[in-house]
Symmetry: C2
Subunit: 233 residues, 2 copies
């Protein structure tokens, strides 16, 4: 029988980014301290311990900003991960020992998913982080800790919530075409949609409003631009 002791709590952010060639996720490379170069650095989701006096949502925003310099992103909590052994794997021990005061401490993490338009956000690694990359979802390899699981769950949540919540717009630039919106839906839901029917549905969404502006510089009929106005009805 063990006692209820203190433990560490972290947030991990699964930030999806979208541009015309697909859906990506934001990963960072663990920065290994200079001396031990035997272990190759692993990729992981941006995440870190929460501070003692900050709320969870606040922690997610702060951590994401500190690690990737992006700010003001839509972030939503989706699940807590508390397997007692989630940070006990051999592959993760070296890195933990290099960055944590109490590397053996149990860590429970709260998962957030976030959405950004690749065109509007430009992540840069923080000075103390190893690197920041947008990785095509299909190309994501083995991540540190249970981050593959967290990513999978986040993607599942995104699929479920894409339609009910108004979150697709977070992934698009402020001005977008209906073709872009449709392509996003097709990628996330993983099925082809009919153009005419899709546009019929969008016309019912009163918060998607046409702008007095068209696409320029394309070698075809320029598309109407739209924007998302959360205020509208």
């Amino acid at each position: 029988m063990s006692l209820p002791l203190s433990l560490h709590l972290s947030v991990d952010c699964v930030v999806f980014g979208y541009d015309d060639d697909g859906l990506k996720v934001l990963l960072i490379n663990q920065k290994t301290s200079a001396k031990d170069d035997d272990n190759q650095p692993m990729s992981q989701l941006p995440g870190d311990l929460i501070l003692l006096d900050e709320g969870l949502d606040q922690a997610a925003q702060r951590v994401l900003h500190e690690l990737t310099q992006i700010r003001g992103v839509f972030l939503k909590q989706f699940m807590a991960f508390g397997d007692p052994n989630r940070v006990k794997d051999l592959k993760d021990r070296a890195w933990l020992q290099s960055v944590r005061n109490l590397p053996d401490q149990r860590v429970v993490t709260v998962g957030y998913y976030g959405l950004v338009s690749l065109q509007d956000f430009d992540p840069r690694p923080a000075s103390f982080a190893g690197g920041v990359n947008w990785v095509e979802l299909a190309d994501v390899g083995a991540l540190a800790f249970d981050h593959n699981l967290i990513l999978a769950q986040a993607f599942g949540t995104l699929k479920e919530q894409l339609e009910s919540q108004h979150i697709s717009f977070e992934l698009l630039p402020k001005k977008f075409t209906l073709t872009q919106l449709q392509a996003l839906y097709e990628i996330v839901l993983d099925k082809k949609l009919d153009k005419r029917n899709f546009r019929k549905n969008v016309k019912k969404m009163t918060h998607v409003v046409p702008l007095d502006e068209k696409q320029t510089g394309v070698m075809h009929k320029p598309a109407q631009l739209f924007s998302y106005e959360p205020g509208k009805s």
Copy 2:
């Protein structure tokens, strides 16, 4: 600037129970130590700190069993609550001081919602708990900590997930009538449903199977009994 320190993690269980006269939630009374009887005991959701070597789901099951003696309940995580001040309220301090080693420690909690049939489960307070009650949802008063918020969120999640997941059946006795099932839907979704249309929909659910058995002892045409078979198709 504060440091990332250790904190306490708990689980809180919002257990909904259903019988023919409505939807209820399981609350426990805080047991005040004999000496200080100045504060009236508050009601709260069953919840407690997790142990160092147990997972979250496991902790939820254990805590619920320890506090209410019920076991084998459907429990699903729905959200983590981490406001830094969620256990700092004056009304809650006396009780915390009487039961915790570190009453000032920050506590983040992971919320679970659960569903039971009032007829199949009979909660009893654990020796060290103050009392266990089923309380009609509308009659729930002020609870300890942020438990009113947690309850509200849990109920919202229940509403959302009632139809997509197969969770309505958890709230019913093993053998139930379609009228019971419909009444449950009407209470949770808070709208009246058409009997014939409802039954048409149920007939499409292959995992709801009619039994060779009818209601007895009712002073009207006895209803066909059904049961839920998760295995089926």
